[in-house]
Symmetry: D3
Subunit: 299 residues, 6 copies
């Protein structure tokens, strides 16, 4: 294919993306990027692809916000330091040393890695954590578990300031209480709370599954679209369970609070963000509000 | 190819365009669109493609300005009205009736056609002519030729206001003097003068030739890049002549006044604007400044 | 009279205008200027006087918007082109060629004439039509009549942008649908719709009658002031009829939607706009809202 | 004359003022209003006329600043209080009590009188004196004369803030030193210094003479226009003397520092400000810069 | 104590003030400064201390507004001028001459004194009276008493403009009616009305008493805090009487209209403003809103 | 001492600080906070005192920027991880793992500790490192030493954005190159480069020495003030040596580039920042520009 043909095809493709670009111009889109995605062997390449998607979103006029965790990386450093996890009544305890390690890893290792990958393309990204500008105020979830926190308030001033200055905020999900004590908080929950506080257009979870299924054993049972009410049912029926609960509950909470759409996407697909944003059908599972005058369930 | 594959290819292509999008974000780009392009049988399709390119430029953050003429359309209406052209010493005279017809066609027919094509995609384009906000101040070029004008001043306030309000200005090249008398002015010249007044990054002429040639008979002699000095030589040698003179002289004048690059492109190629903007090599002929400390000619 | 006396009288006159100037400072005033006014033998002088009034309004701090039609000019060009009007069931049809001619005349002839007359005084006026910035969205009024449109939406962003940049918008009343297809729309109706969209203080129709009469045969029956309810009665009684209906209905609609006052003035009187604006009694017919707690009719 | 005729004449007159209104839109004009003008029997009427002129200037877009003294009023209060003036070497001394009386009269009597007259027309005027916002910094002119001050610096922030908020500043010419000690300062000098600090377009002195004369005894010798160089000559020749010196020197200083025009007008003529601003010939004496490449004297 | 120790202590003290500084940053605080405070032998020193407090408030980010009267100073000038007070039915009459004297003293003597004291520290203060920008619109309280006014409207634009430009407004409490006629108005009432118009955080009266007492004869009965309802009771019981009524009524009115706290402080204590603002307990009497769901009286 | 007396003393002290507060209002002050200060046994208290000073600076209107290193904390984590330092030619090498550890400690441990201490007082501080918004662009200092970086460019946009939004930036001194590779950079050097880029008023180093000495053995030889030229001499003479070199060179470089004053203070003194800012004599060593027309040395 000649250089001209290649360029011609590129032009056609760009033009096809026009209506999608137009639809999301100026909209805030919160993307939860999982720690798993950064931990694998091909993590560097995956991160580079992810960074391209985020920069493209910003260049075509969206306001992306990245929220990330980093469980595997925390475990890795704890192992290196010979730190063992305590348990109380069978539950994992986050002691003071552990939350310091978590903060060190999330803010000092995972966060700058993501920022650096984005900034290969320009001075776009700025990393923050929950203590910066009082972004995530937290308290202990259960005193017996130590410094595992739950969100009590989001103060989004620092993020909005960065967005208005055309930066891309990258958020490490460490919160703090009024004394400055750090808490480790579930990143899925934080992503939802931030989307809500920013009145985001979309909340997107990049995961390592294809989407939600109505039958866990059946790949063909992928749920393309679900109302928040439908998800209540699926949780009640035990079809959504385990680690998916915080994601799904955050999707529900965000959509109930005014976020237009929440998505659970397969982060292992290259450029999955652009795929979702630039395809009519979309991919993965999309969560939508319940119909206004209707108790029914859409599927 | 599956839907996912198509979308994947689209994502890849978008990502490949990233560095080009970044480079021109916030830059003003003046595009001269020829009346010929609107006159042919396939003109409607060509105009639709052109409109897509302009909207895409705007959506990825550029500030495009469209300048157009409409010679064939003027001739057509004159023919319908049975109006014959006068000559003085063999030169075509623009009498009062003719300039009124020209204004009617350019502002009332060609301009809204272009505006409407762009606005299929949204409320982007706003048409103006030289009398609006005093944009193009003109005087008679040669009194014997009547109301053929030359530019005496550009007052770009109205265009800058529209750009700042995120509109796409579409300019019909009718100027006026201080009494409001209309003048018909060469659209190529106006495009250059506006690019200069706006301190544009690029001035692009869409023509019906492939580009400049160093040997008119030899398609292989296409000049890919020329300094303004080189063009002086080609004009002196008679290689650039006739209708190309105003375009080339406007390119030279614009580049000498600070416009970074001027381009002569083949408007018959689909999406030629995006091709030029999103390809390293570019296409057609690019005019660049003379090297600073050097009398040489680049090719 | 000495130079000093003349100047002294001028000073006195200016000072008498003080309270009127103060009252309308910063207010938006939409003026419908009729195509008839431009068609007569003394049209050039009338236009010059009108332009002076508009510029004066702008200089003393009002925000004037001019809306115009151009029926006689359209008919004239159709005649020159040998284009005959078709009729369906006795109604005049606007076919594709006719609406193109209308657009050409309104946007390409009448509009720049008005703009040029105003701009003799400075770079004030900018002409727009309904397609510019999606200003007037229209649809077919009655499919059998072709491209006669009715307003479906006004998007006043382009006008507000021009007013905020201290320009005087001059609007040609050609609308378009979402495909860019042009429609010819009654200019009286458009003027009212724009006044409503801009939350204008006043809507003024310049006509070739003295004002509304309660007895068509009796010049002494001129109605100086009428509530919108009173006008309903006059229409029901057949006293307001024919071409006056769109004007009167637009006055009623505008006043019902929050425009404080609507006026039907005699455009043949020199400086009639300044007369209306700078006299306590006013002239012509003024339309005011119905009294709030009252079903009565004011006269 | 009918109501319509009167209104028509008013409209004509307004339109004649158009070019003058346009010329001074947005321009800062400093007007020195003399204490004498406020002291006479018909002072109330004169002040009302003056207030109308100032409000009109503001309504047509100028930025007027009023500067005033109040010598006669100070003398009057001193007389009532039985306070006698001391002399040193034949020169009048301003002791502490006298400067307090001056401040009380200027800021507490004359200034609010002018402000109130203007504000009959709306909430336009705000009175300030030299101590407000550090507007006029002063020091003793000659220690033997006590608290007679000369200007050491103008800090125009408070005036510019008021002008930007669309108020009309009215300035009482009491200055103060860094300890807050008040000084009485020649109001003519202050007016010039403020015009200079504001980069005013015009500095206008309202006096009780017709203008400067080249022969004091000959009313026909009124000087209509003089360069600053010409005035040096007239001072050297003793033709300009006494109380006119501070006015003329301030005119010269202001014009030399970039104020375009300075004027000495006869404040006894009704609406003399509008006369000057809305007449080509102007009245009184106008001071203009020296010709650039010329040592000559213009008349 | 060494220089370092002194500085160390200073640092400690500043740090102790931190929470108070933070609490009031950006808040508007209206301070009524009594004419009495300016009349005594040590008035100069007291004024200097007061000025320091006001400047400190401004420098740590508050928006202070000073309102003052000047009864003793008015009486003093009236005495000097041999002007005697008339009585009607035993009530003091303010005739035209008296209100002129009041204006002269308040605006021309007391106001610039306060402004000058503040401006020893920088160009902070700007004096205004009720006529400036139409700040205080007034009418006669009782026609028999002449020009004693009551507030009909506050137009705070001029004060808000000054605050936004980071000036400290100092208000002389002379109002005016729509003809510009001056009225002398109780300064306590004006202070309350201005606090209300500005939605101030605090209204503070500096008086020459320690605070309100529940038993006038018993210094130990100082009321530290009272609800507005409690004050109604104290007035009904005759415990609050005489000159305290306007202050207390203004406190009540202001707190009822949304001012968070009103204070009656002893202006004879050095730096009493900073004491109140930087102490948890506060001093003097603080007026707070009635409890929302409770008819009770707090003490 | 009574509560009132304590408060009174506090008021006096605040008032004494007035001129210093005024002098630095709106000024940017860069403070280098050493990692040593955070490492000691009383580090928590010292950090709390430091945070109070920084918040006080912000509340009285300065724009503080904190820059910090964290050498001891890095060594501590390396020891825990059993990581040994390599040497090349006797110089310490920073390999890839080491720079990752440094980043983790600086950005993930020291930085949030400082941010949290400041934010006990409100949502003031926001932590950033060199990769955020491309703040610190770096390259290898000496390839043999690995990822020890030197500053190639400072892009202060992110810091200026935070300051304009009224946040306090806290900077971890990890830089990165255009590929996103992290480099560990001397924090003293970074502090100077940032002060220069921000056109700061002051650059302050908090150290664990009293200041510079002219005789290292003699505590009495403390240098209170030195010109940059004098410091050249002291370096040449070997009096300034070792770890002080980067601090002193950065002071010199910053002052030569327009920073008005640089200071070397003893961070072990409580509230040393407020002491320096609120004392005429200051403490520690102050570096000032060379006298303009003079080769001399000031001491």
């Amino acid at each position: 294919m000649s250089v001209l043909d290649v360029a011609g095809q590129r032009a056609e493709t760009l033009v096809e993306a026009l209506p999608y670009i137009r639809r999301f111009a100026g909209k805030t889109i919160v993307v939860k990027y999982g720690g798993n995605a950064l931990a694998g062997t091909s993590s560097h390449d995956a991160l580079a692809l992810f960074a391209e998607d985020i920069v493209m979103m910003r260049l075509v006029g969206m306001r992306p916000v990245v929220v990330h965790g980093g469980g595997p990386q925390i475990s890795e450093l704890m192992a290196k330091l010979g730190k063992e996890t305590e348990f109380v009544d069978g539950l994992r305890v986050t002691d003071a040393e552990t939350v310091d390690i978590a903060r060190m890893v999330l803010k000092g290792q995972v966060n700058p890695q993501i920022v650096a990958s984005i900034n290969v393309h320009g001075n776009y990204a700025v990393g923050v954590s929950g203590v910066d500008g009082g972004l995530i105020r937290a308290k202990a979830h259960d005193p017996r578990l130590g410094f595992v926190g739950e969100v009590t308030a989001i103060n989004a001033d620092v993020i909005e300031g960065l967005l208005d200055n055309e930066f891309i905020p990258v958020v490490a999900t460490i919160g703090s209480d009024e004394t400055g004590q750090a808490f480790n908080i579930n990143a899925d929950t934080v992503a939802g709370a931030i989307a809500e506080a920013l009145h985001a257009e979309k909340l997107i979870y990049l995961t390592d599954i294809e989407g939600l299924r109505s039958d866990l054993q059946d790949a063909a049972s992928l749920i393309r679209q679900a109302t928040v009410g439908h998800l209540d049912q699926l949780i009640a029926d035990g079809i959504i369970a385990g680690g998916m609960i915080p994601k799904v509950a955050s999707c529900q909470q965000a959509v109930r609070s005014g976020v237009a759409r929440a998505h659970i996407l397969d982060g292992r697909i290259a450029h999955v963000l652009l795929l979702e944003l630039f395809t009519d059908d979309g991919i993965g599972t999309m969560v939508v509000p319940d119909p206004v005058s209707d108790s029914g369930v859409t599927q």
